[in-house]
């Protein structure tokens, strides 16, 4: 997948590329201006050096302190310009990344796209920062390459047409080579990213299987195998890199030859062996030194651009991912998930012609209605839409058609938050956030004693067994509690919340009979105490205990 995406970006520049930098375009221009300014200071410094050295030969040693002062002043000014430009660029990149991050954080949980939570987390945490070098290095290298070589070329021509010509000959060839190099560098960096990527995939694969490997006594075998594969990967990658580096050497070669030719030409002119090349008077020593000093800087912007090329590739691949995510079909929920006063009136619920709209799928739900204290089972094949049905009742998925009426109101954006304040949901795979159990059980901080509810859900012994009791953080995978225990904890939480309608998704799936019985007892107890209960289940025992059964997917 990742490889595919990366390849796509090399040929198609994503539309977002320009949009994402639009708010910081001004900052980028200003930073570019500062960088160019810093680059233009160098010829002045070079001139000061050349002027002083020419003075040594002319016997004018008084120039040296002045030249040194100009050189230092210029150098410091250059350093400060670059420093300031760096700050502007960092802030611009920071602003862009944080803007994108905020957009993702406030969107991805509200309207789910068909992308795993881990992938979204990786995009937000690891990949977005890759935009930073793209913005700070690549864009500035582009601006510099457009201005500085041209200026230095004109200066060179001013003194000597042949030096100018040397640079000019190397110059126009450089764009040609830049394309080659750009492609090669991109290929090289992609190759290396792929290498690291596949090596890391191999490591992850083996790490996650390490328990099995260890139990099979296969550690040595697995490690030897891994080493062999890594070695094969290295040999293959190096074969490609050897060629890729050849083309980047070309740039190096041109810049070295350019400098060497300038040096040799200037030397021969000064000796009087070459009498052409400069305009009228023969080139002076100072001018010669000056030309030598600015020649390397003619090539410097090209080298910076080449170095920034893979920052561009990395940045564009992140943009492509953002674009793909932007374009994904989403299922937003109703309302805004803000705290609201519970909907008034006795609890009633009825569905009429409801079709739930999931990304790329429509689920038709049967018509039914429910009153306070009643229970109902949504039954049907796996994948028929039972869970979607529960989600629709809570206003968690949008409707393509039909209407859900709750407590006499239409369930819509206006009423959803108030309706949800009366519902508690017991998901099939509860997910525990990284917070202590007591805080999780009591989200509204009402400080009710949780133990009666825990006892009611027959999960009190489980909590007592946890290493820190109610202060345990169950964390990502609910480490420490089994699936059945997690669901009982969810039921305890539902009891504590005091909400009247309990929605339970497959509460008895994958459980041994004893544990399933505990869950059923807890649900039945809730019903006896006046709660309404809706379960989505394919467990016939559980379904039989409900007042009514409604089949989904007919």
């Amino acid at each position: 997948m990742a490889r595919q995406r990366r390849q796509d970006t090399s040929s198609v520049r994503p539309a977002r590329g320009t949009g994402i930098t639009a708010p910081i375009a001004h900052a980028l221009r200003f930073a570019g201006l500062l960088s160019v300014l810093a680059g233009l200071i160098w010829p002045i410094q070079a001139a000061a050096l050349a002027w002083a050295i020419a003075g040594w030969i002319a016997g004018d040693m008084g120039r040296t302190p002045w030249a040194a002062a100009i050189f230092v002043a210029g150098g410091f000014l250059r350093a400060f310009c670059d420093h300031r430009a760096g700050q502007i660029l960092f802030d611009a990149a920071d602003q862009t990344i944080s803007h994108q991050r905020a957009a993702l954080i406030t969107r991805e949980a509200r309207a789910r796209a068909p992308l795993g939570s881990a992938e979204i987390a990786a995009l937000i945490v690891q990949k977005l920062p890759l935009l930073q070098p793209w913005i700070t290095r690549y864009s500035i290298a582009m601006i510099k390459v457009a201005v500085l070589p041209l200026v230095l070329l004109l200066i060179s021509f001013w003194f000597s047409w042949i030096v100018g010509l040397v640079l000019l000959v190397a110059g126009p060839l450089i764009p040609v080579f830049m394309i080659l190099i750009g492609m090669a560098a991109e290929q090289a960096s992609r190759r290396q990213m792929d290498e690291i990527g596949s090596m890391n995939a191999m490591v992850m694969d083996r790490l996650s299987a390490m328990l099995d490997i260890r139990l099979l006594g296969a550690a040595d075998k697995a490690l030897a195998d891994f080493s062999d594969r890594a070695e094969a990967l290295r040999i293959k990658t190096m074969a490609v890199l050897r060629i890729a580096f050849l083309s980047s050497t070309v740039l190096e070669l041109f810049s070295a030859i350019g400098v060497a030719m300038v040096a040799v030409f200037v030397g021969f002119t000064l000796l009087g062996e070459i009498t052409f090349g400069s305009w009228s008077a023969p080139l002076s020593l100072g001018e010669g030194l000056f030309l030598l000093l600015i020649a390397p800087d003619f090539f410097q912007p090209f080298r910076e651009l080449a170095a920034a090329w893979h920052d561009r590739a990395a940045g564009l691949s992140v943009l492509a991912e953002l674009d793909a995510l932007d374009g994904a079909e989403r299922a937003p929920f109703l309302g805004e998930a803000r705290a609201a006063r519970p909907l008034d009136g006795p609890l009633t619920l009825s569905l009429a012609g409801v079709v739930a709209a999931l990304p790329g799928r429509r689920v038709t739900l049967p018509d039914f209605s429910l009153k306070r204290g009643q229970s109902l089972a949504l039954i049907g094949e796996s994948g028929a839409g039972k869970s979607t049905g529960l989600a629709a009742l809570a206003g968690l998925v949008p409707l393509a058609d039909g209407q859900i009426t709750v407590c006499g109101h239409r369930l819509d954006h206006e009423t959803a938050d108030a309706w949800r304040a009366r519902i508690a949901l017991v998901p099939q795979r509860p997910h525990f956030p990284d917070q202590p159990l007591y805080a999780w059980l009591d989200p509204d901080k009402r400080h009710t004693d949780p133990w009666p509810a825990l006892k009611r859900a027959e999960v009190d012994q489980v909590v007592l067994r946890l290493p820190y009791g109610l202060r345990t953080r169950l964390g990502e995978t609910g480490g420490g509690v089994s699936g059945g225990e997690a669901r009982r904890l969810m039921i305890a939480r539902a009891i504590l919340s005091g909400r009247e309608l309990i929605l339970a998704d497959e509460p008895t799936a994958d459980l041994d009979p004893d544990t399933a019985a505990m869950i059923i007892r807890a649900l039945m107890h809730l019903k006896e105490n006046g709660h309404s209960v809706i379960v989505a289940t394919h467990d016939p025992d559980l379904a039989a205990l409900m007042d009514r059964r409604v089949e989904v997917g007919q």
Binding site: G75, R112, S117, A256, A339, H431
Partner: protein, 539 residues
């Protein structure tokens, strides 16, 4: 620096030759760059002098100009070689670091091994190894090359242009550059640590929020959650800002240093020329070399700015520690009372639980989830601290690991297969002829499925992707069968299988391993005829 030493040692040992070649060429590139500028400066000044003196014809132009050309081409060639060798060394180090990482994980206990299945833990480990990839190539090699270049340049300039200028270059650059970089490294530690910690929190927070979204919406807590994450983002940005400031500060200082040293070379050169100690042409060399030496310092900056990140990663991964915990306990050969009789395959005496299993027996371990069935199996398999367990009369910890693995095979719940072919997954367990593989597959009635998928060489994706959960589980069972263990431990072998398949699989295992003692945890099928006894595990 201390935290990075073990890693540096390790990587250097991994590919000493490739590292050496890379280092030599790095120095060569820097030296040739300095020599090219120095020689060119000298050449132009000398020719200028000769031109003025009218010595045009007498001046030996051939050797200097050939030198300039040689250095220009040689530098390019050396640069190419440097690229190739250092990348080769990097790739070797990459592989080596990862092998060492895997080797360290092998000896973790069962709890830590199970944690390795969590994506968050894996991502963290991988990110850390990635950070360590740069230790040698971005930190050590450029630093060593820079130092070597400065020393060689010192000697060369001292010889060519006098020790005054050589000392000025060395004393101007080395102490101050070290100071600047030391500051940068120091200032990078705290923000790197904070950025890393907050990034992990953000990562976990985002996953939490998305997986928990239904609850958050129902509790009307989504806004709070988003605000929390945004404030984490703010902290990460602050840390990144500090890092950036440190790095840019170092860049500013280095540019100023280069400017000052060059100006110093100019002033000193001018003074020496005025004193008549040296000619102008020689005096110029110092200036040009001072400029060229900037190239040794700038590339180091980025590597050193990452010091904090690398140090943090090194600390977390802890390569410095020993790989395999040494057992201090003496190996007690027998801890069984009646040493005379041959001891049972497995004896468990953990009050109130006491049972033995003889060859050919199969026992089902039952009990509610969370009662410690898996932990008991892990203890028997020697992956957790245990007491009161004897395998052939010896505690698991007293068996050498390889012998214990030969005796006991355990199939954990939700076994993980490797990416690769089905045959490769089998080969991990044992080298047995193909017919034995098919027999094992037939025993768990997976032969038809595998044949349908293209036989033993059909590829599996990561973590066995391509097979259903139940099929992957059965493949893991077949893998255990070909090991022909004396004691087979099965953790929920029928999980995810339908009744009919579960029945066939259990009977198949028994038939395939008639002499093996089998202990299985089950929450259903415990009354399967395969089992001779059921033992309830109570809390």
């Amino acid at each position: 620096m201390k935290t990075l030493f073990p890693i540096i040692q390790m990587i250097l040992a991994a590919a000493p030759q490739a590292m050496m070649r890379g280092a030599v060429l790095s120095v060569l590139v820097l030296l040739m760059g300095a020599a090219l500028l120095g020689l060119s400066g000298w050449f132009i000044t000398a020719t200028g002098l000769a031109g003025i003196a009218g010595l045009g014809i007498a001046f030996d132009v051939f050797r200097p100009s050939a030198g300039v050309r040689f250095l220009a081409l040689g530098r390019t060639a050396a640069r190419y070689g440097e690229h190739v060798f250092t990348h080769d060394a990097t790739l070797r180090a990459l592989a080596f670091l990862r092998v060492r990482l895997l080797r360290r994980q092998v000896w973790l206990d069962s709890r830590a091994l199970s944690r390795l299945r969590s994506e968050a833990v894996l991502t963290r480990i991988i990110a850390d190894v990635d950070a360590l990839d740069g230790v040698v190539l971005r930190l050590l090699l450029p630093a060593v090359a820079a130092l070597a270049t400065h020393l060689i340049v010192f000697l060369a300039i001292g010889w060519l242009a006098g020790w005054a200028i050589a000392c000025a270059l060395l004393a101007g650059y080395i102490p101050l550059a070290i100071l600047i970089f030391w500051q940068l490294a120091r200032r990078s530690i705290k923000p790197s640590d904070r950025a890393e910690k907050e990034s992990q929190s953000l990562r976990r927070g985002v996953i939490d929020m998305i997986r928990n979204r239904q609850s958050l919406i129902l509790d009307a807590r989504l806004d709070d959650r988003e605000a929390d994450l945004l404030s984490l983002d703010g902290n990460i940005r602050k840390a990144a800002q500090q890092l950036d400031r440190a790095e840019r500060g170092a860049a500013l200082a280095i540019t100023m240093l280069v400017t000052l040293v060059t100006a110093c070379a100019l002033g000193l050169g001018g003074w020496l020329v005025a004193q008549g100690v040296m000619g102008p042409a020689v005096g110029v060399i110092g200036i040009f070399v001072a400029l060229a030496l900037a190239e040794t310092l700038m590339p180091l900056r980025r590597g050193i700015a990452d010091y904090g990140k690398m140090a943090g990663a090194a600390k977390r991964i802890g390569y410095g520690e020993k790989e395999k915990p040494e057992k201090s306990k003496p190996k007690s050969p027998l801890c069984h009372e009646n040493a005379g009789a041959s001891p049972p395959v497995l004896a468990v005496r953990k009050a109130p639980l006491t049972f033995i299993i003889e060859p050919g027996e199969a026992v089902a371990l039952t009990g509610a989830s969370g009662s410690g069935k898996t932990s008991l199996l892990m203890e028997i398999a020697g992956l957790a601290e245990s007491s009161g367990i004897a395998i052939l009369g010896r505690a698991p910890a007293d068996w050498p690991d390889s012998s214990l693995r030969d005796l006991v095979t355990m199939v954990p719940q939700r076994s993980v297969l490797l990416a690769g072919t089905i045959r490769e997954n089998f080969n991990l367990a044992a080298d047995v002829p193909e017919s034995a593989l098919w027999q094992a597959l037939a025993a768990i009635s997976l032969d038809a499925v595998i044949r349908e998928r293209g036989g033993l060489d059909a590829p599996l994706g990561e973590a066995g992707a391509g097979l259903s959960g139940g099929q992957a589980q059965r493949l893991a069972l077949a893998r255990a069968i070909i090991r022909q263990p004396q004691l087979l431990l099965l953790d929920e072998p029928t999980e995810g299988l339908d009744e009919a398949t579960a029945d066939r699989v259990l009977s198949g295992i028994r038939r395939a391993l008639p002499q093996t003692a089998i202990l299985a945890t089950l929450h259903r099928n415990a009354n399967h005829p395969m089992f001779d006894r059921q033992i309830p595990l109570l809390l």
